[in-house]
């Protein structure tokens, strides 16, 4: 189980790096799909079927939209020169990554290991959630009943994004004749 996750994560990291470094934007987007669909399998392995279902559809739609944008504009990645600057960048990122991971490892050493999570807030959801909400699927029970207020916010965010997209994509911003 853990081995499987590690393999999948390695694949996702590979996909992510390839997607960021690819010379063709279309292949970058497809490699990005590897990350998203890898995440779907991770969700399935980690016993989150709800998320897997949402993620697989959302990922597909994101890919469609991204490909539509790219086919509509250009596929070429920009040409970048290798110079002193990029070497400095790479060294800096490697050092930063190492430091971040070191501190992360040190800081989380005292916490519960993988798979040994303790419950506090969700203890009540598991023990009494089904009778309190009447929903057999506890995740649905949590998102629409215990934390329904969050879900209102979430639906609002999608609404905001739609209004934002319609606003940004209108043809003309200002009226022609002032006053």
């Amino acid at each position: 189980m853990e081995i499987l996750l590690i393999v999948l994560l390695a694949l996702m990291i590979g996909g992510a790096i390839f997607s960021l470094e690819a010379k063709d934007l279309l292949s970058a987007v497809i490699a990005y799909g590897v990350v998203g669909f890898g995440l779907v399998i991770c969700f399935l392995l980690l016993q989150a079927p709800d998320l897997a279902l949402v993620q697989i559809v959302v990922e597909t739609i994101t890919l469609i939209i991204m490909i539509a944008v790219i086919l509509n504009s250009t596929r070429e990645e920009l040409k970048t020169k290798w110079g002193k600057k990029s070497v400095v960048y790479i060294v800096f990122s490697i050092v930063f990554t190492g430091l971040f991971l070191y501190f992360f490892n040190r800081a989380t050493g005292s916490l519960s290991r993988f798979g040994e999570h303790t419950l506090r807030m969700s203890g009540a959801y598991l023990s009494k959630g089904a009778e309190n909400t009447g929903s057999a699927n506890l995740v649905t029970g949590v998102i629409f009943d215990f934390r329904g207020y969050d879900t209102l916010g979430e639906a609002t965010i999608l609404f905001t994004a739609v209004i934002g997209v319609l606003t940004v994509l209108r043809l003309r911003g200002r009226k022609k004749n002032n006053d």
Partner: protein, 512 residues
């Protein structure tokens, strides 16, 4: 009264959906509807401030504590929250009223008002929420609405500023979510009061420091403190003026500074290191912001850099308070410093909001923001010129305007806490601010013969714009009253007490 708390979120959200729905059939619907609802909310928050007996805790969905663990989402309204709610809804109302005339120049008015409502709803939601993840969700509503509003004019520089803002804002949101993940890992709960109890019980823990650092980076980006300020000048100067006034006056406070203050006082233990970091960040923002502002010739860009600097004052005041508390100093000094910071928060919202509205009025009539091309506007736009003078004197700390008193309190507190260097820096920055605003006044409203503007037909802006500007200018003077002890005890002291008595927050929510 308790059951009316959700109105702060429900009213603007409902307003947004109704505007989107009805506004596409009825022309001009959003124009007046927005102002009416926001005026109602501002009045309501004012009423709440004077009639509130103590902290109000509202459990969404009616979920009681289960074996002493909160399981639902709680809304918490205490002195600090009400203080912020008044700022948000008051400035929101005035900006919306100003927009009635200003936004007629743009197309898709309806979307503008919908996004405006959503932004206000998001900020109100962040302020009244008592749950970490809920704060994240509402913060995203406010942030996404503001991304779209920055790009509202869809010209080159607006789109570009919006993209930059969105990338940095998105990254900061993910940092915040990551640190919420760390805190959930450590405590298995999301309620701020509950998290606070567990952290305080656990003593020193490295994961808490790690989460604090990431959280500070995330919210520091949202509040545009100095190492993370890159997006602010572009975004705040490109947006339509009423939106600039909302962004600079309210948004960076409600989803940046407020959350930092709330979490670091009421959730984490105040330690010397963290307070030192916050003070240093505040000082840096104060000094570097004003130095960057000197060379600017674009009015709104200059104002945006001054926003960084003035937010530095707020964070500095609060940071000195934290330092004093962490070293076990006198409570009176700490509460003076925090009071200065919070007072300056309100003042900055008022005068910076006013200055951006002034800049908008100038741009509305002349079509440019470049100070080199302006000058001699004072005879033609008397209201704009005089209100702008009020605001400039207020921001540069000239008595008897409000900015003077809040800066004075912060400086006195710094002296009392023996941080002489900080107080000298604060005075120094104030002087540079004065110089900078003398330049604004001179090059915009005076200095040049004004015949050129007569040909172009420059005259005073329409009534809604004038009304908002005059209202804010009056507030600039009236807010000085907060220095009077009896008024201060009514408004400022409850807000400061919440932070000084850090444990009272958890006690109010958990009841033990």
């Amino acid at each position: 009264m308790d059951s009316f708390i959700p109105l702060f979120v429900v009213v603007p959200l409902g307003g947004a959906f109704l505007t989107a729905l009805v506004g596409s059939f009825v022309k001009g619907w959003g124009r007046y509807f927005t102002s009416i609802l926001l005026a109602f909310l501002a009045g309501f928050s004012g009423w709440l401030m004077f009639s509130m007996p103590g902290p109000i805790v509202y459990s969404v969905g009616g979920w009681e504590l289960f074996e002493k663990v909160p399981i639902g989402i709680h809304m918490v309204v205490d002195g600090l929250t009400v203080y912020l709610l008044i700022i948000i809804n008051l400035i929101g109302f005035l900006s919306a009223f100003y927009s009635i005339a200003y936004i007629k120049k743009f197309t898709a008015e309806n979307n503008y008002y919908t996004l405006f409502f959503l932004m206000v709803a998001g900020m109100n939601g962040v302020v009244i929420s008592g749950d970490l993840f809920n704060i994240y969700v509402f913060l995203e509503i406010a942030a996404i609405a503001s991304y779209a509003l920055v790009a509202f004019g869809i010209e080159k520089e607006e789109l570009e500023a919006s993209f930059k803002y969105q990338v940095l804002g998105g990254a900061s949101s993910l940092f915040i979510l990551l640190s919420i993940g760390f805190l959930y890992w450590k405590t298995s709960t999301l309620n701020i009061a509950d998290v606070s109890r567990i952290i305080l019980r656990g003593g020193k823990d490295e994961i808490v420091i790690f989460a604090q650092v990431i959280l500070l980076a995330g919210f520091g980006l949202k509040a545009a403190m100095i190492p993370f300020h890159a997006w602010l000048p572009d975004a705040h100067s490109s947006a339509p003026s009423p939106i600039s006034s909302m962004l600079s006056g309210v948004l960076i406070k409600a989803i940046g500074a407020y959350v930092i203050i709330r979490l670091f006082f009421n959730m984490f233990e105040i330690t010397y290191k963290v307070s030192l970091v916050i003070t240093v960040i505040g000082t840096l923002s104060m000094v570097v912001g004003v130095l960057l502002a000197i060379g600017q010739w674009d009015i709104k860009r200059l104002l945006a850099y001054h926003s960084i600097s003035q937010m530095g004052y707020v964070v500095l005041g609060v940071g000195i308070g934290m330092l004093v508390i962490s070293q076990g100093g006198k409570t009176s000094v700490a509460s003076l410093a925090i009071a200065g910071g919070l007072f300056h928060l309100f003042n900055h919202a008022v005068f910076k909001g006013l200055l951006f509205l002034n800049a908008g009025a100038v741009e509305y009539r002349t079509g440019t923001r470049n100070m080199k091309k302006l000058g001699g506007l004072a005879p033609h736009m008397p209201v704009t010129a005089s209100t702008s003078l009020f605001a400039s004197m207020s921001i540069s700390g000239i008595p008897p305007f409000n900015g003077f008193f809040s800066k004075l309190i912060i400086i006195i507190a710094a002296v009392q806490a023996r941080y002489l260097v900080l107080s000298i820096l604060a005075v120094f920055v104030s002087i540079i601010t004065l110089a900078s605003f003398l330049k604004v006044q001179r090059f915009t409203f005076f200095n040049k013969s004004s015949d050129e503007w007569v040909e172009k037909g420059v005259r005073e802006v329409p009534f809604p714009m004038c009304f908002s500007m005059i209202f804010l200018a009056v507030l600039c003077v009236v807010l000085s009253l907060l220095i009077v002890p009896s008024v201060r005890e009514l408004i400022l002291t409850p807000a400061v007490d919440v932070l000084i008595k850090a444990g009272s927050y958890s006690a109010a929510v958990l009841g033990y």
